[in-house]
Subunit: 231 residues, 2 copies
């Protein structure tokens, strides 16, 4: 199986807290970093702007936004539809109503397709099993299975790096501090409702708030907004 | 892991010879059949019309065309670009220049995402390792890996059926006859150049011609076109 010898990585960067941390983590380890975000009609589209901002701050070689029209058509749920966002579990499957089936599988595949063209074999993603909010596509087991599918399906020696997989949110915040990612996190976006300043009440906002609180570190996003007089 | 008890299957139907055979194969086995084709800017777009025609002939519950804009953007090759189609191998990887990286992985994921919504756990695809033209995403190994990725990624008990996986093209033609799929094959499309009547010289046309010839069965597409005075 072929593998690239370039010191280069492609980061799946949604502009959220976790992928932004991973973007800096990758920039600290590879000479060239590329980043990719996905436009699937998400309610919190402001995160696409955040992804662009943090990618620029890190100095990526190229940042792409890949449209995934298909997910918009397929997903009947609250991240892309009109349903209210909340801690609501679907009655028939016990998954959060923010679950978009196949979302991360699609993202991995598209990222790998671009990486294949770039001759980049390292992919980096912020998925996390610990705080995975009930999403089965954030599990270590899924990433392992997807790695095998990408390797055999493209005959290319991809590695998917998941630096946050087994960290709590507080540990992710600590890692962000160690990796000098806090300045980037001031421009990351988390709120599922797409609010700036963040709504503070959706599951994503609550998770972020708890992570910073437990780590004993102030959220640089709130500090920045406060300094700008936004909150 | 959840699994559906519906007698229903979703067929990945490009409108080509193999997936059309699989469409009939599925209709002979499940009470309800759905079909899906993908629009990724392929040069042979006439196959999308063929897929619609054969799906109607079989009486599927629903046929969908899912847009995969992203593949069009990512793929720098002869099926979607301006390069000539032929038996050309790329210099750096030994794969045919018709290889669209990640294409089938994407199709499996999108099909599974729709199947998940439909509560359908059986997917059927015409991929074939024997005549796979050098595409790594048509191998049994890839389908197995992808099945694991879909199962763990969506927490749903998908099965991917590949009735043609280990058949030669001639054996696929024989299977089509046994399954009463020949009448459908009269409306299937194979030519990579999108020609009607088929160009007869591209790799796909040659493979089809050889399959029917070795099976000792006349190609119903050519018979139909001849009866209509087209060839």
């Amino acid at each position: 199986m072929r593998v690239s010898d370039r010191s280069a990585a492609l980061v799946l960067c949604s502009g959220g807290q976790d992928s932004t941390t991973c973007l800096r983590w990758a920039a600290n380890r590879w000479q060239e970093v590329y980043s990719v975000a996905f436009d699937y009609g998400q309610r919190h589209r402001v995160e696409l702007d955040a992804a662009h901002t943090v990618a620029s701050m890190v100095g990526v070689v190229e940042h792409r936004v890949i449209p995934v029209e298909a997910l918009k058509l397929l997903a009947g749920n609250s991240l892309t539809g009109d349903t209210a966002v909340g801690n609501v579990l679907e009655a028939d499957n016990g998954l959060p109503n923010t679950f978009v089936p196949g979302r991360n599988l699609m993202f991995f595949t598209l990222a790998a397709a671009w990486a294949y063209q770039l001759k980049v074999s390292h992919l980096v993603t912020g998925v996390c099993q610990t705080d995975y909010s009930g999403y089965p596509d954030c599990r270590q087991q899924t990433v392992q299975a997807m790695t095998m599918a990408l390797r055999t399906g493209m005959d290319y020696g991809f590695t998917i790096h998941t630096p946050l997989m087994h960290l709590t949110k507080a540990q992710s915040v600590q890692l962000a501090q160690e990796e000098q990612a806090l300045e980037l996190l001031a421009y990351s976006h988390t709120c599922y409702n797409g609010s700036v300043p963040p709504c503070g009440t959706c599951p994503a906002c609550k998770l972020r708030e708890r992570g910073f609180r437990e780590a004993g570190i102030a959220d640089p996003l709130l500090q920045r907004l406060a300094s700008e007089g936004t909150v």
